[in-house]
Symmetry: C2
Subunit: 331 residues, 2 copies
């Protein structure tokens, strides 16, 4: 991913919600990323506490308690936060001013995903409301084409993505037409990195999943390999055709389907219970209690969030153990 961005106008700002792991974030920065993207304030606090200095919180931070935390974070690093509501912006403005601080913001625009963000047609009027607020600095705009990243057919994905980015860049033009500088145009995910990352005017791409990948994303973006697996033990082999492993829903998520057994012919995961996985064994497949099976998750981001640490393996040897320090920091 870093290679792709080396000669692009847009820079990579990897989303750390995928791995929640400061060590991986530092490696992404050393490879050339300009900063990181965080989903939540709590995640950003952990990353800042681990020495990372350029952080975009790609969500709204609301309420007095969280804005207080945001201001504390702002005191130790360069943090930018998304806004899409004038009252929220006003509260950040007043609290930042009272604290003698200035908070960098990006205006979130809903480019078709239907989550947060003002409508593209309202971006200009929202910018007008915010521009005069003390204690705030408009850095730019943000829009996530999340409705496009998982489209299987690449040309269809490119079409949908391009439509979304046009809305974002049109909003930029409208705001700049008002004399407000839009330095940052932030967008993109792993599924659109090579579309959004080449789109004129986009300054940074928030791709995250590429760092770990998963079985589902691999089917959409074959450019990156799956880096994560769950090593699980057979704890029971009650029948010739059934084995039970000790990874269940608390070890691997399944909102996007069951994890996949890696590289074992005739060994198939049939079901995840809360604490167990049920394995079906084909003819000739041999497994005994104590044997290990590697599962490839179908959703890397939520699966990482179940674990406290990651064992970094190279050539079959554990080379390092990294804390998933921002695991569970969901607010």
């Amino acid at each position: 991913m870093a290679d792709f961005f080396r000669d692009k106008e847009a820079k990579l700002r990897p989303h750390t919600k995928t791995h929640k792991c400061p060590e991986i974030a530092h490696r992404q920065l050393r490879a050339g990323a300009k900063g990181i993207t965080c989903a939540k304030l709590g995640e950003a606090e952990v990353m800042a506490g681990n020495g990372i200095r350029d952080i975009l919180i790609a969500n709204e931070v609301v309420g007095r308690m969280k804005i207080e935390r945001l201001l504390k974070l702002e005191a130790i690093c360069d943090v930018t936060v998304a806004i899409d509501d004038a009252s929220n912006a006003q509260m950040i403005s007043e609290m930042a001013s009272a604290d003698g601080r200035r908070v960098d913001v990006v205006l979130e625009v809903d480019v078709g995903m239907g989550r947060c963000g003002v409508r593209p047609s309202e971006a200009l009027s929202f910018a007008r409301k915010v521009r005069g607020m003390g204690g705030l600095a408009i850095k730019g705009i943000m829009g996530y084409e999340g409705h496009a990243v998982m489209i299987r057919d690449f040309e269809e994905r490119r079409g949908e993505c391009t439509r979304a980015l046009k809305l974002l860049l049109d909003a930029k033009s409208a705001i700049e037409g008002e004399g407000i500088r839009v330095e940052v145009v932030s967008a993109g995910g792993t599924g659109t990195y090579n579309i959004t990352g080449s789109y004129p005017g986009v300054t940074e791409v928030q791709a995250g999943s590429y760092a770990t990948m998963d079985a589902r994303y691999k089917g959409i973006v074959p450019d990156f390999d799956c880096a994560i697996g769950i090593l699980t033990s057979v704890i029971s082999r009650p029948m010739p055709e059934r084995a039970v492993v000790d990874a269940g829903m608390k070890s691997a998520t399944m909102e996007f389907g069951l994890p996949i057994v890696k590289g074992m012919a005739g060994v198939e995961l049939m079901k995840l219970n809360e604490e167990h996985g049920i394995i079906k064994l084909g003819e000739g497949a041999k497994l005994s209690p104590g044997d290990k099976i590697e599962l490839t998750p179908t959703h890397g981001c939520t699966t990482m969030n179940l674990h406290d640490r990651v064992y970094a393996i190279r050539d079959g040897r554990v080379e390092s153990v990294w804390e998933i320090a921002a695991r569970g920091k969901s607010t």
Copy 2:
């Protein structure tokens, strides 16, 4: 639950996989539980490290590394472990003997759930294999009627549960006919507590979910209220009919359906993304950024496992904060 068991032959041994929280486990013990049930060795280690002294690990513990940990645990508390495989039993036997220890075991019998456990017809021959092994003490048998606990119709549930328990008690009789004492007959879940808890010969019931409950279980066992909720903040209100909250799949699991919005007319959770929940607002429903919504999980056990602590609230005030210390201890 404690009240139910006060005059029963069977005693309550609550499953702590539900809450993973030593403080709740201690409260269950103070209310009359005879000990606790754990899903995994790691969970048992945390509970023992927090002063709990009578623990059943209701699963197989396999391989040298884990058995070493089991023996260390045995040194500080009364631990009983399930077995269903002669080689695994032999390994525990040899390692316990070498260490001068004796490990209490229950023979797991598959009473129809199709997970771990020997077939009922093989329970006697398995007991014969194990009886002579040094370093092991057969305490009894265990069988979980997991295929019955979620049957919606109570009479149907009772029928299925009773069939399963007959298999378990028949196995007990066969083993005792051989002169092997079966002191413990362990079974049951929250869905069958009042069937299994009254069944002659059952000595302990492993119900766990009752402690927290969830929206799904409440539909099956109305006897207990839901104790847990997820308090989430509205971070965006981009349209009159849409709000976005900061609880997503990393805050609430959804393998059994979306969480339910508690007590707010016209406010419905439509979707969970990874870091967000999408709320649909009906006519007249007012929500602004910063407002709080309480979600009732549909699966308490896996949702608790996403969080580091639980805020214990009485009459609207936080009375205590409890660490979910065994969260993530899935092996």
